[in-house]
Symmetry: C2
Subunit: 211 residues, 2 copies
């Protein structure tokens, strides 16, 4: 064990999908790390010490040997470069086009589908499901998610690109916003998301204590 | 000149900050490409042929030898891998930590600062400035932008990381949303943004016909 393991700052309740994404990358690579929890409701992410490290006062932030980095996709890319395959497990596909597509998926899931992300917050996935029906707009957004996911996921495949990559976890979480709340999801995508959800790295996050 | 140059799909009015980002990467690298303009108001991005290429019906999309890719940061990363330095100009820093920080900046500018992006749309930068004052929320957002940019930009520096990278262009555009509309911007940041704006690659985009 290293003397100074990596530190990952996450939200107090372990509900941030972006903190989860980095957490899963770290666990898939088998890198020792500690988590530091910030209570966002108590504005702990706005405290000066954290803000100076994170720059943008967002979670997650990774600190590695004094280097503090925020934005989950940037962190996973950094981990892929510093703890690179084949010594460590790959978080991204090795093929240039597949790696590009994985980045597209990550960027898209972080900048689109707002009505769905809003009406199916991750607290409904990790803490308590909701019984509120989806609005018409959120249903349209869900349809877009299904259409894109069905185009991306090859027939019969368990992963987007042959082997697992971090975009699988991100896409599975977006689908689980619906699956976990009993919303209608095409069977093939439901199976995909549910299988992704069973990965030990993901389950380790899912089963964090939240009380 | 290659027989099949790259094709970049952009919005009809050349106002998408993400299309601009890829456009600038292509020009900095000196890669021949053609632009195809989609009238978003006429829903041309929702037409089946485009949707099948872009997957998500967003601009920009780059098509390179039959491979269609969307999401501007994913496209610039792809171009950096396929048209790599030192044969082509670098779009990202070579240092691992600086490259990580550039990715952080790109991801942050694409997922935060919403009130500012909304009240200072890029039409006010490229077509017609607005005289509407910023709301209190947008002013707070501008303060966050200034605080982060001032921490990122070394004193006296013209670029974030020594040499130009695509995160400079993205950050400059975010600042120009304010500069172009006469909003208050700290002098050092105003100088930085205005200098970045003068790069030939950026001016080539700025001076596109928009009528
Ligand atoms: Ca940081
Ligand atoms: Ca808790
Ligand atoms: Ca695409
Ligand atoms: Ca026009």
């Amino acid at each position: 064990m290293p003397q100074n393991p990596l530190t990952l700052f996450v939200d107090h309740q372990f509900t941030s999908p972006y903190a989860m994404s980095v957490y899963v990358t770290l666990r898939e690579k088998g890198i020792p790390f500690v988590t530091e929890r910030l209570d966002l409701g108590e504005q702990q992410h706005q405290q000066t010490a954290y803000r100076q490290q994170s720059l943008t006062a967002r979670v997650p932030t990774l600190v590695h040997e004094g280097f503090a980095l925020s934005e989950s996709s940037a962190i996973s890319e950094y981990l892929e470069e510093v703890f690179a395959p084949p010594t460590f497990a790959a978080a991204y596909p090795q093929d240039v086009q597949q790696r590009a597509r994985a980045r597209q998926v990550q960027a898209w899931l972080r900048s689109d589908l707002m009505p769905l992300r809003s009406e199916r917050g991750t607290d409904t996935v990790f803490i308590q499901p909701t019984t509120t029906p989806l609005s018409a707009t959120a249903l349209q957004t869900a349809d877009k998610l299904f259409r894109v996911a069905e185009q991306l996921l090859p027939a019969g495949a368990s992963h987007l690109f042959g082997n697992w990559c971090i975009a699988d976890t991100d896409l599975a979480l977006m689908l689980m916003r619906l699956v976990a709340n009993g919303d209608v999801v095409p069977e093939r995508l439901k199976t995909y998301a549910t299988q992704q959800w069973q990965r030990p790295s993901v389950q380790h996050w899912v089963q964090q204590p939240r009380t």
